[in-house]
Amino acid sequence: MAIDRKQVISNMSKIKVVGNEEGLIPAFNVYITQLPAAFWNGFAERLTRQVGAELLESAEWLLVNAAHECGYHTGYGIITSEEWKAVVQPMVEKVPEDILHGAFAVFTAWGWAKSEITELIPNEKMVVRAYDYYESDVVTYGASNKMSAYMIRGVCAAFMDLAYGGEYDPTGKTGLRTFQCQQVKGIECGDEYGEFVVTHAN
């Protein structure tokens, strides 16, 4: 692997994000917000805890789907950005595998999750470990029975879509949701790290 994670994280974590005179942050072909993690966690946790057991899976799917679409479009914006071209692109030797490793370094640098790929079978399976992630903050004491890293699940699947799902489709009609992700371990559940397994969608 040619990607120098430490270097990418160091460089990409320094990017200044601040609203322009219109209060908007246009970057990477999308509009960005920089909101408290407690806001996103609050909605996801209250929603999944209030819908009841019968609707839990549906609610979780909706949350994962939001991240999946976000990860697909923003992920594409990142890997085609000037910042990427300057920092990560020169390290890429093997496509798309090195791009995937670089994307998780950026994912880490942006504060979504301190994560890395631990297993990658091209166009088949990816395992990601997250050693720190804001979604685990929903538990501050004890361990939950419910895994809560919906955002990471969606983004992991999206990155595999970008790598192996064919040409990027801005409409999201093709290319998106060719992969799915399951969370198998979670810091919020008492595990040492979160673990995410991405495979082809059924």
Binding site: V17, V30, T33, Q34, A38, Q50, G111, D132
Partner: protein, 178 residues
């Protein structure tokens, strides 16, 4: 001649290399795109499981009220005008848009948005629609009024009466004490 000094928000951004988290004024903040915010808003709007719009607005109210109250306390921001200036600037700094509080009192208020992340993101993603979608900002405004006047959560009812997403030049929110 009187000199008017504009209160400017101070946001201390830090990146913790150990946890790889970003914080503004010691509160963890994360970057997300308009796809995420609009999909959360759509999820809240379409949610048949419970009142998702109310839930999203309440979470927003709680989150931003907490940030602003802490900011006012730590920085000894005392006047209503200064507090409003800080709330408008924080709203813009987070990328949510350009907000103008046109009037505010203990019982009611009016707030305009000249630009809106959620509305403009929604139009970019799905086009215009005739119903409001900015539940996040309705909650932000409720939280801001709580913080301005020292009120408990759910003190204010906020209605979006005009929306950028519907083609209006500005979004307009009307605030009234319950």
């Amino acid at each position: 001649m009187a000199q008017f000094k504009t209160t400017e928000i101070v946001l201390d951004h830090k990146f913790d290399p150990k946890t790889c988290r970003h914080s503004l004024n010691d509160m963890v903040h994360v970057l997300h795109c308009h796809h995420y915010a609009t999909l959360y808003s759509r999820l809240a709007d379409d949610c048949g499981m419970l009142d998702g719009k109310k839930l999203l607005a309440e979470v927003s109210e709680d989150t931003f009220s907490a940030f602003l109250i802490r900011y006012y306390e730590r920085n000894t921001v005392q006047t209503i005008a200064e507090k409003i200036a800080i709330a408008e600037q924080y709203y813009a700094a987070t990328g949510l848009g350009q907000m103008q509080v046109t009037c505010a009192g203990m019982e009611s208020g009016e707030v305009n948005l000249i630009h809106s992340h959620v509305d403009e993101g929604w139009i970019k993603k799905w086009g215009k629609r005739d119903q409001p979608v900015n539940f996040i900002t309705a909650g932000y405004i409720a939280g801001m009024f709580n913080a301005l006047f020292g009120c408990a959560p759910r003190t204010y009812h906020v209605v979006e009466s005009e929306c950028i997403v519907s083609g209006a030049e500005r979004s307009k929110f009307e605030v009234v004490r319950k």
